[in-house]
């Protein structure tokens, strides 16, 4: 009586792959979800559940070190992503849609260098240079961090802007030139509005990359210049309280929000 179930033969199926994929997604998300859940823990421990509470969010919110680190992180990220996006937009305009010219490979190599060189190497290189400038000038402000962040954010801002430029239609600009628009006017009224989503996407990536940076910041910062990630790194070396969970969760939510915005901006309109 037992009728054998017959599964249709699927050419896209491979044995065990779906199971392994689901396991991978679980392994990927269980730690993150646990971290988020324990940020609402009422007890001191990051391992024993003591009931729901927002205590650690309040604690982090009122911690002056966290406040200062947050403000510093945001200042650096805003300045760095602003600078990086501006220079990257210019560089994208200078390297696309004008045919090949001498030295373009050098420009590409320089722009993409932060993606190729391991961060720890850039970090010690900046430490060497900035340490001697600090000694020579006596200035120990945030400018070092802003310059360093601006530089490594450039490729992240450059790539989406360039992608947008390459996909753009030249006819509108030619039309505006035909109608006697000056090059600057054509750029401001035609090219820039069309390019805007790419620029916004690039700025957002640069912002997230700057906000997340640990290694370069750790080596470049002067005493008492913790950003949120370096503050967390310092905390993780000591006894961990759910405060770190709370900060992490807040950063995670921010990342997901920005990421969603990024997707909406770069989505192709069909």
């Amino acid at each position: 009586m037992a009728e054998r179930k017959r599964r249709r033969f699927s050419i896209t199926a491979l044995p065990g792959f779906s199971t392994l994929a689901i396991v991978t997604f679980l392994v990927l998300y269980v730690p993150i979800v646990t971290m988020v859940v324990y940020s609402f823990n009422a007890s001191m421990s990051v391992a024993v559940w003591g009931g729901f509470s927002l205590e650690w969010y309040v604690y982090a919110w009122n911690n002056t070190l966290v406040q200062e680190a947050t403000v510093r992180s945001v200042i650096i990220a805003v300045c760095a992503s602003g600078i990086a996006t501006t220079v990257a937009t210019m560089a994208a305009l200078g390297t696309t849609r004008r045919g090949r010219y001498k030295g373009q490979t050098i420009i590409y190599l320089l722009i993409n260098q932060p993606l190729m060189v391991p961060e720890i190497v850039t970090a010690v290189a900046l430490l060497i240079v900035f340490a001697s400038i600090k000694v020579a000038t006596g200035y120990t402000g945030l400018a070092y961090l802003i310059i360093a962040h601006s530089a490594f954010c450039i490729p992240f801002a450059y790539l989406p802007i360039r992608a947008r430029l390459e996909g753009m239609d030249l006819t509108l600009e030619i039309a505006s030139a035909d109608l006697y628009a000056s090059p600057w006017r054509a750029f401001r009224r035609v090219t820039l509005p069309l390019l805007a989503p790419g620029i916004a996407a690039g700025a957002m990536l640069a912002f997230v990359i700057s906000l997340d940076d640990v290694i370069i910041t750790e080596f470049v910062k002067s005493a008492g210049q913790d950003t949120l990630p370096t503050y967390m790194l310092g905390q993780l070396r000591r006894a961990v309280t759910p405060e770190v969970n709370a900060i992490s969760t807040a950063l995670l939510v921010l990342t997901v929000l920005l990421l969603t915005l990024f997707y909406l901006l770069t989505r192709r309109r069909d």
Partner: protein, 299 residues
């Protein structure tokens, strides 16, 4: 006339790129050149350097001189760190492939309306701070973490596993944090795969294994190479993950470089080690470019 146009185009291109290039030379390429110089200088007494040419840093990378009888021997500790870095990075690459390939395949074979959702689930960890993800996995594998609690809770273990501060912990951590870097390029390759070729294979009575080995893997090879490079390169230069999960003892090259600029007070040695790391990364990238142009030529 056209000559002038060409020249103007190149000039404008350079002018527009100039601000970005100045910034990059100031805070990326320039400092890197100084590292090259520092690797050939003498360490200062407390930190920094003395401007005397010396090859001692390069000698110290591989050898050490006994302080009593001046005999030269291999610096075992250094070799151990190099070997650990390379070995852990290779195993990480392999593990991310073992988990990443089925995951990428799964995403690419979902119905189109679900695909974006699964892909987004991979992208979230990809953009989440590395430090946060390392912290998250650390909380799982700690002595009193949820892994041990769960395993002891269901009676599989009577004593908690001591994973933290071992090579295994670093391996688990790196596989966890770099997995999305393997999945994304693999997905891109599988997404472009022409499934009519797979169907033709089955029509010709190929087994699943034969189709996988003879059709699928050769076609998605560029994706495999890209994913492997994307995982191997940051693994080799990893700093945060081995530092938090390996503790002070299980160092990788990145941590060893930092040590030279901190407590080790040997900036030239740190610079030489940075250059060696850069060299290995450069070799990996050249291998990648050659492998991908070759498969372009074949495909």
């Amino acid at each position: 006339m056209s000559m002038d146009m060409d020249r103007k185009r190149a000039r404008d291109g350079w002018l527009l790129s100039a601000p970005a290039l100045v910034l990059l030379i100031l805070a990326a390429s320039g400092p890197l050149l100084i590292v090259v110089i520092y690797a050939f200088l003498t360490p200062g007494e407390y930190s920094g350097i003395v401007w005397d040419f010396s090859l001692k840093a390069w000698f110290q990378v591989l050898f050490e001189r006994d302080i009593f009888d001046q005999t030269v021997s291999f610096a075992d500790a250094h070799l151990t760190i190099f070997w650990r870095s390379v070995r852990l990075s290779l195993v990480t690459t392999l593990l991310t492939f073992v988990f990443g390939f089925p995951t990428a395949w799964f995403i690419a074979t979902r119905p189109p309306n679900q695909r974006a959702m699964w892909l987004f689930l991979i992208t979230i960890p990809f953009w989440t701070n590395l430090l946060i993800r390392t912290f998250a996995i650390m909380e799982v594998i700690r002595l009193d973490g949820i892994l041990n609690n769960a395993l002891m809770g269901i009676g599989l273990l009577s004593e908690p596993l001591r994973i933290m501060y071992t090579d295994t912990a670093v391996l688990i951590g790196m596989t966890y944090v770099y997995l999305p870097l393997m999945v994304l390029p693999l997905f891109a390759a599988i997404d472009r795969l022409d499934f009519r070729l797979v169907e033709a294979g089955y029509d010709l009575y190929a087994t699943r294994w034969q189709v996988l080995r003879r059709i699928i893997l050769p076609i998605i090879k560029p994706g495999i190479i890209a994913g492997s490079i994307l995982v191997f390169v940051p693994s080799l230069g990893a700093y945060v993950t081995p530092r938090l999960l390996g503790g002070g003892k299980k160092m990788m090259i990145g941590n060893f470089i930092e040590l030279q600029f901190g407590a080790g007070r040997n900036w030239p040695l740190g610079s030489a080690l940075s250059l060696i790391l850069l060299l290995i990364v450069g070799i990996a990238l050249i291998f990648y470019v050659r492998a991908s142009t070759r498969s372009d030529a074949n495909g």
